[in-house]
């Protein structure tokens, strides 16, 4: 089907989220929608899926105008959407989830589970989305859950599939499988709208790319001819540096010393296994690894959130053990948590309030026990200015900022005080290109100020761009650190558990 959006405009109080957007999706096409966080991609797709009403503009399908009063109308018109956050019933099987709402029934309304399972199984096979129709959804990995979501749309015979940031939750291998399946859909004549802010993925899968910036379509590009650099510039609206410009560091004294540290989980299983390393002032140690290999508990131990570790952690010569989280932070540790929505911010709190989390009862923000609102507001205004946090005011709830700006807020809060050690866990996850560039620069600035930096990341490119030394976590154990340069291939193989001696050769760098 050929979908055409003309002059779509959607206003929210104080913001024009979509400003007369024109978009055409041809049959059998993968149409990439590229834009920074907050550019209006999701709003546009929610309008197309009937979740929002457009203030102006028209949607036509094969030349026929389409009126959407809700997702039901969109589904009836052959539009399917896979949201960033899945809408599945965890305790139902795959087949039950897929047929939910359009169930196969026998006489008297009995559910025909066997038939549903068979149909879903066949559909899964045909679509190149292998999944066991009788498995419980709660037992499935995120990647497989996403397949179930796509199957839901296909089962309702979607001719146009909207995938909202589908790769954000996938491992590289799973992403490759997804792209394979997408090519299958388009071969059948279905169209796909692919939303992402990752340039590389657009170049890999999209036939055509529309770039959205601040609610407007600013250009349509052919991914085969356009370079990543050009796309990035178009998306951000100014020249962007995709590589990090950093001089050789000048490491000083040891700021973080980790000796034989192990952490057990409540079930008694060792999740950080005898890890030792040191980080000097003025250097960045990047800890690479696929997520779930012990990085999270290690970071918790380093930053005073995990009192139950064995071994020794000293920061600037003082042991972490026996100090509270609050004390550890106050004594000079900055921590950018990996899940900013959960641990880094309070969405309902204002920007100003979020900027004093961690320092809320210290001078000058509080005098005795009374909060000093003027000081807090001035402090916030200064930080918002210095770190280029895009917010209407310092009294705006942090939750209403875009993802990139929320992360800048966390980064700004942790960077803007004198610290000996900075622990940044997945600092650019879910963040747009412009903000990534900014956060990377700030990490280098912090290093050059003489802070010891531990960067935990599962993004290989980020690790290689920023690291002065690199270590890899696998099954709770750490290999390295190794002095850079280490090849991307070598780090990738160690992330998969390869023996470092083998990977790096007999002359491999020691600890």
């Amino acid at each position: 089907m050929r979908l055409e959006l003309t002059g779509i405009t959607k206003r929210f109080p104080g913001v024009v989220a979509n400003d007369s957007v024109d978009l055409v999706v041809e049959p059998g096409e993968v149409h990439g929608l590229l834009g920074e966080n907050g550019a209006g991609k999701s709003t546009l797709m929610n309008i197309l899926y009937g979740l929002y009403g457009a203030d102006e503009g028209q949607i036509t399908v094969d030349g026929q105008p389409l009126e959407l009063d809700g997702p039901g109308d969109a589904i009836a018109a052959g539009i399917g959407m896979v949201h960033q956050h899945f809408m599945l019933v965890p305790v139902f099987t795959v087949a039950e989830n897929v047929v939910l709402g359009v169930e196969e029934t026998k006489r008297l309304g009995w559910l025909d589970r066997a038939r549903a399972s068979k149909l879903v199984g066949e559909l899964a096979e045909r679509s190149g989305l292998p999944v066991d129709p009788d498995a419980l959804v709660e037992d499935l990995s995120v990647g497989v859950q996403q397949r179930v979501e796509i199957l839901k749309a296909l089962y309702r015979d979607a001719q146009l599939l909207i995938l909202d940031e589908p790769t954000a939750v996938l491992t590289p291998q799973e992403a490759d499988d997804l792209f394979e399946a997408i090519r299958g859909f388009t071969a059948e004549g279905r169209s796909v709208v692919f939303i992402s802010h990752k340039l590389r993925e657009h170049r890999e899968i999209a036939d055509r790319i529309s770039v959205l910036r601040r609610g407007k379509i600013v250009g349509t590009a052919d991914p085969r001819t356009e370079s990543e650099q050009d796309l990035a510039n178009l998306m951000v609206g100014r020249p962007v540096e995709l590589t990090v410009d950093k001089s050789a560091g000048s490491p000083g004294e040891v700021a973080l010393r980790v000796h034989d540290v192990s952490v057990e989980n409540v079930a008694g299983k060792t999740i950080v296994d005898d890890v030792s390393f040191e980080v000097r002032r003025g250097e960045i140690l990047a800890v690479a690894g696929v997520e779930g290999n012990g990085q999270t508990p290690l970071v918790r131990a380093l930053t005073g959130l995990e009192p139950e570790f064995t071994g020794q952690i000293d920061i600037a010569g003082k042991p972490v053990a026996g100090r509270s989280r609050k004390q550890v932070l106050r004594d000079g540790v900055g921590h950018v948590p990996e899940d900013r929505a959960r641990d880094g911010l309070i969405a309902e709190f204002t920007v100003a309030q979020n900027l004093i989390l961690g320092m809320w009862d210290a001078e000058p923000f509080a005098h005795r026990a009374t909060l000093q609102f003027t000081v807090i507001a001035e402090h916030a205004a200064g930080i918002v200015e210095a770190y280029d946090v895009r917010t209407p005011s310092v009294n705006t709830p942090a939750g209403s900022l875009s993802g990139g700006n929320q992360q800048k807020l966390v980064v700004a809060r942790e960077f803007d005080r004198p610290i000996d050690l900075l622990v940044a866990a997945q600092p650019t996850r879910g963040v747009d290109v412009g903000s990534i560039e900014y956060i990377h620069k700030q990490l280098v600035v912090k290093r050059d100020e003489g802070t010891a930096v531990v960067l935990v990341s599962s993004e290989l490119d980020e690790v290689l761009a920023l690291a002065d030394r690199v270590a890899v976590m696998f099954h709770g154990r750490m290999v390295g650190p190794f002095d850079m340069p280490v090849s991307k291939e070598a780090v990738g193989r160690m992330m998969a558990g390869a023996d470092p001696d083998e990977v790096l050769g007999a002359a491999g760098a020691g600890r």
Partner: protein, 442 residues
């Protein structure tokens, strides 16, 4: 995003990692079963994590966010809607109206006139009874005093993400202890005896609020369950105490306690009017609580824990300390309500003296949207309704229960802001509360 939705996803993240690890041949260490086990372990760990934090990110937390997010307009319109439905109830319950309704088609004017008369008279009597004169105003303030305090007793824990259903029991504890100190000690001057008795009541309430707080912090016992049970315990124990020789009025067999000494009674402002200095205590406490919750570092902690305990922990706060503190302060305020009632108005303990004022506190706090100023205002309003309702019943025969109906309706409308928006055709956009702004942007 709530924790329920986050849970399974993060669980699956671990699974991802497991799958990927298992893929390359180098890693023969983990079998699939072990992967599964690791995943279960991780889930258990997260569960335990939630338990130590003591807040499983559920009902109360969402309630706090929803309440503090409700706009003032919705609150006011909820009140108006409740009054309109109240008017319908007055009209249909009036015999005269039903009579003229019989020939509605012949003379509809009669019906409208009768409806107008009954409704306007009842509401006029309500307003008259609340504000119509010095003694009416005095009664409004007398009724409002405990309501302000129990309202705050619910509002403060609410801000920490806790739903304190236990104001009733905490109030009983405060009233019993304040009363006992008030009548068992004699010979002290007012300046010592009154603060001693009131302080003892406040301390007793604080202790009774501390119990569910510490239970939650240490064991994860849900405060809604434990406070409901503690209400029963408090009310029944108080009933038994009043019938013991220790409390009972000498020479009487019915369960009424001895009378509080004059030296432990809140002095009245004017003789002949029941309004007394316990109102001053309530307002002073409200000011202290306003500073505590809205202006102090403790309040910052309290609000942070209520809205996102994980981020609060991450910022170096202690969620358990905050929740025990919030429940203790809530209990203290309920205790003050009990003291105000016994030492200010009733003068002695009877069975069921609390008369549901603690439960009314829930309504007051909800109408006040969990804000301190709002709760004080809601307490005054409900005090006026209570006092006015009594005089309405006396003058027009409209049942006092109407006031309860109106109160209940207000809460229904506040709990369902969508209903209010539908009635008054307000677009959600116009009541932007941060909710909708979460929707847009990729």
């Amino acid at each position: 995003m709530t924790d329920e939705t986050r849970g399974p996803n993060s669980g699956a993240d671990d699974d991802d990692a497991g799958q990927q690890d298992a893929a390359p041949p180098e890693s023969s260490v983990l079998t699939t079963d072990e992967d599964r086990q690791a995943e279960i372990d991780a889930a258990k760990e997260r569960e335990a994590d939630a338990r130590t934090i003591g807040l499983e990110a559920g009902f109360s937390e969402r309630l706090v966010a929803a309440l503090t997010g409700t706009s003032v307009i919705v609150t006011i319109l909820a009140f108006v809607s409740a009054l309109v439905i109240g008017a319908v109830i007055i009209a249909v319950s009036e015999p005269q109206v039903r009579e003229v309704l019989g020939y509605f088609t012949a003379r509809p004017g009669d019906t409208f006139a009768a409806v107008w008369t009954s409704v306007s008279e009842a509401y006029a009597a309500l307003v008259q009874g609340a504000l119509g004169g010095r003694s009416q105003f005095s009664e409004t303030l007398v009724s409002a005093t405990p309501l302000i305090l129990t309202g705050l007793a619910v509002a403060v824990p609410l801000r920490a993400g806790l739903f304190n259903i236990g104001a009733e029991g905490q109030m009983v504890a405060g009233g019993v202890v304040a009363g006992f100190v008030g009548f068992s000690i004699t010979g002290l001057p007012l300046i010592l005896h009154l603060p001693l008795a009131a302080g003892a009541g406040i301390a007793a309430g604080a202790f009774y609020g501390w119990i569910p707080g510490i239970l939650k912090a240490r064991t994860g016992a849900h405060e809604v369950i434990s406070t409901i049970m503690l209400n029963n315990i408090g009310i029944l124990v108080a009933g038994w105490l009043v019938s013991t020789a220790l409390f009972r009025q000498p020479g009487r067999t019915d369960p009424i306690s001895r009378t509080v000494e004059a030296s432990a009674t809140f002095p009245r402002f004017l003789s002949g009017f029941r309004v007394n200095t316990s109102l001053i205590m309530a307002l002073l406490l409200a000011v202290v609580i306003f500073w505590l919750v809205e202006r102090s570092t403790h309040g910052f902690e309290l609000n942070a824990v209520g809205l996102n305990p994980h981020a609060a922990t991450s910022a170096g706060m202690d969620p358990n300390r905050a929740l025990v503190g919030a429940m203790t302060v809530g209990g203290a305020l309920s205790g003050a309500a009990g003291a105000a009632l016994i030492l200010g108005v009733q003068g002695r303990l009877t069975i069921g003296f609390s008369a549901g004022l603690g439960f009314d506190g829930i309504t007051v706090a909800l109408l006040g949207r969990g804000r301190i100023g709002g709760t004080v205002a809601a307490g005054l309003l409900f005090g006026a309704l209570k006092a006015g309702g009594r005089s309405m019943q006396a003058q027009t025969g409209t049942s006092l229960d109407l006031v309860l109906v109106i109160q209940a309706l207000i809460i229904v409308f506040i709990a369902a802001p969508g209903l209010v928006r539908a009635i008054f055709r307000i677009k959600a956009d116009d009541l932007a509360t941060g909710q909708i702004s979460k929707g847009w942007g990729a």
